[in-house]
Amino acid sequence: MITDTKKINDQIALSSTGRAVPGGIMTRSLEIYYRNNKVIKGLDIIFPPGKITAIIGPSGCGKTTLLRSLNRLSELTNGCNVKGQIMLDGEDILNMDPMLLRRRVGMVFQKPNPFPKTIRENILYGPKALKLKVDHDMVVRTCLEKAALWNELKHRLHENAFKLSIGQQQRLCIARTLAISPEVILLDEPASALDPVSTASLETSILAMKGEYTQIIVTHNMNEARKVSDYVAFLYMGNLVEYGETDKVFNHPERPETRDYINGKFY
């Protein structure tokens, strides 16, 4: 059902020749089960490196499940079973060490989940956990700058992260993920708990990271998907219905389901 595979493959070739951005993800006949329930039904999709791909679809269509399987976080859920292949730069992640994988594929959750520590400790948590030999001050500064938080927080680095506003907390979670310099960042409805102003600044952060990281964002917000993403995948009942460039999917959808969903007329 992939409609635009050729173009995307061209894109991958372009990025590999132009700027070497790692972190392309490709799945082959991916099936995910919760006990006997098939949630993802044979998915073939390519997330091109350095681009932002949005996954849209109604609730319960398997978006979050797909996202959580990309860094093998789904293994923590009892009864979740992944079959098929997920390739990260040509390596099958199901054969990789999960900790090494998660170091390359970071994740931002639906609800802001800062660690109960200071802002600085939150950023340095990853480097400490992975025993990375880095300049701590430098890491804190660059990560916060990339997440567009440095100017707001540079005098509050030793405050508890829980004291931040909910939008700042979410951007701190992004900054925290950047500290381990991943290749891919998975964003699971990052703006669902935020007000419009925070959402706008979050989108700024996401757009600022474009080109450097592969970003895969699950969202219910059509405007957000339209604004930030390069590619859009529409998932329904565990199947990929439509996949292509954002402009094309939103302006000239090929499938009637996609058109209905985008226009809010879905069932």
């Binding site: 994988l101 970071g106 959750f109 660690f115 948590y125 956990a129 992975l130 829980f162 381990i180």
Partner: protein
């Protein structure tokens, strides 16, 4: 026409006047019933006040009947409970007046004054009467339902508070009277120094009794027990909690959880019986005998064995403390949001790193609470201490005989019953109780402050 539920709102002068009659009656009834509660308490303490009980019961009965008629006239409700209550008060008054001054016979092996019955009856009718009269004093509004219950709740609360404060006042008062600074600088000693002298080529032995009254070794002993118990039970308890939460499945975790909870409710005396049997197992002179019983040198340089060593006693106390710490660790680990834990794992952190840098710091306040409860038990709440302790006069190291303030209180009472002529300690059990009280309150305060600071530091709240 719709009936007005709250007649208070009616702006009719005549009606408001009548309503005031009900209010006056209810006020008088409130006063008398409240007086009945106080009088009931006094009668239970002073038998001679018993003469007031019968008239007071009759007055309450009369007031309740009056209240019934006023309520009926003003609010158009027949509150028959008031009549029932009044009849019961009347019957009780008659019953009390028929009772002889002292109750004997009827398989009562003892003498009970009539005031016991009348006092309890006054309390009962006073409390229920206050409820009704206050309810109508507040013009039977919905809020009156709540307010009318306050006196009953407050009565029981005050009873509990008075009981606690009386105990504390008693201990502090007597402790201050019996206070001797020398008790705190002296370790208890009651030994006989055997002096060998040579006369005409023959050895002669004379005995020089050494007696020193003091509680220094008992204070240090209590601290030692607390410390050793914490050192033994903290790592084990935390490990058990982590294992149940992180590694054991639902089934195994449930089984361990159930058994630790069951173990928690075992009385100390059951463990003590086992402990005493275990103490009898090793033979005198073996390593285990020394470790179990504890030993020290007396003034003559002889080795003396005790009842049980600090190490042994605290190991047994730990058996009761471990379940508490395991449970509180588990609660702490449960309270951390799943998102935060997954957030750590999603950064590529190992389970181990997550446990030590995220989950355990988060659970620290809970663990501290568990430890605090455990230490309070070690300090004196346990029967096990009485059976395993001695006077501990040969030193306070982990391998010396167990001793503690809790045991000393018991021991002083024991000496008193024997009429021990030597002991200076015999009049100082309240000093010991006072010290134990200060220690317990102190430890609780420290633990609470620690808990608050840790919460602020690791949870941000």
């Amino acid at each position: 026409m719709k009936k007005n539920v709250y007649p208070d709102n009616i702006n009719n002068g005549r009606r408001r006047n009548k309503l005031n009659n009900l209010r006056v009656a209810a006020s008088i009834a409130t006063l008398f019933t409240a007086g009945a509660i106080i009088m009931g308490g006094l009668i239970l303490s002073f038998n001679s006040l018993d003469v007031f009980s019968v008239p007071l019961l009759f007055v309450i009965a009369g007031l309740l009947v009056t209240l019934f008629f006023f309520v009926r006239r003003e609010l158009k409700i027949s509150q028959y409970w008031l009549i029932v209550l009044a009849l019961m008060a009347l019957g009780s008054g008659v019953l009390v007046s028929l009772l002889p001054t002292y109750l004997q016979g009827l398989h009562v092996h003892g003498i009970i004054h009539r005031s016991f019955v009348s006092g309890l009856l006054l309390l009962a009718f006073g409390l229920s009467g206050v409820y009704y009269s206050l309810f109508y004093r507040l013009s039977a509004k919905p809020r009156a339902f709540d307010v009318a219950r306050y006196p009953i709740i407050i009565f029981f609360t005050i009873t509990a508070l008075v009981a606690y404060s009386l105990i504390v006042i008693h201990i502090v008062q007597n402790g201050v009277v019996q206070w001797q600074w020398s008790l705190f600088t002296t370790a208890f000693q009651s030994q006989s120094h055997i002096i060998e002298t040579w006369q005409n080529g023959w050895p002669t032995f004379s005995v020089n009794p050494i007696y020193r009254a003091g509680i220094l070794n008992h204070i240090i002993g209590t601290l030692m027990l607390m410390f050793l118990t914490s050192v033994i039970s903290l790592p084990i308890g935390v490990s058990v909690g982590v294992f149940i939460h992180e590694y054991a499945g639902a089934k195994l975790g449930g089984i361990i959880n159930f058994s630790t909870t069951a173990l928690r409710s075992i009385s100390g005396i059951i463990l003590a019986v086992t402990a005493i049997d275990l103490l009898a197992v090793p033979k005198l002179g073996t390593l285990w005998f020394s470790i179990f019983h504890g030993f020290g040198h007396d003034v003559n340089g002889m080795i003396q064995y005790g009842r049980s060593s600090f190490l042994f006693a605290s190991a047994f106390i730990s058996l009761l403390v471990i379940p508490v710490i395991a449970k509180s660790t588990q609660e702490g680990l449960n309270s951390i949001p799943v998102d935060v834990r997954e957030g750590s794992l999603a950064m590529g952190a190992s389970k181990d790193f997550t446990l030590f840098h995220l989950q355990l710091p988060w659970s620290l306040p809970n663990i501290i609470t568990g430890l605090m409860l455990g230490c309070a038990e070690a300090a004196g709440a346990l029967t096990i201490i009485f059976l395993l302790s001695g006077v501990g006069q040969y030193g306070v190291s982990p391998l010396n005989e167990t001793t503690s303030l809790a045991y000393l209180i018991f021991d002083i009472k024991f000496w008193q019953s024997l009429g021990d002529p030597v002991s200076n300690l015999k009049n100082s059990q309240f000093v010991v109780a006072f010290v134990l009280l200060i220690m317990t309150v102190g430890f609780t305060t420290i633990a609470l402050i620690l808990k608050r600071n840790l919460s602020k530091r690791y949870k941000g709240v």
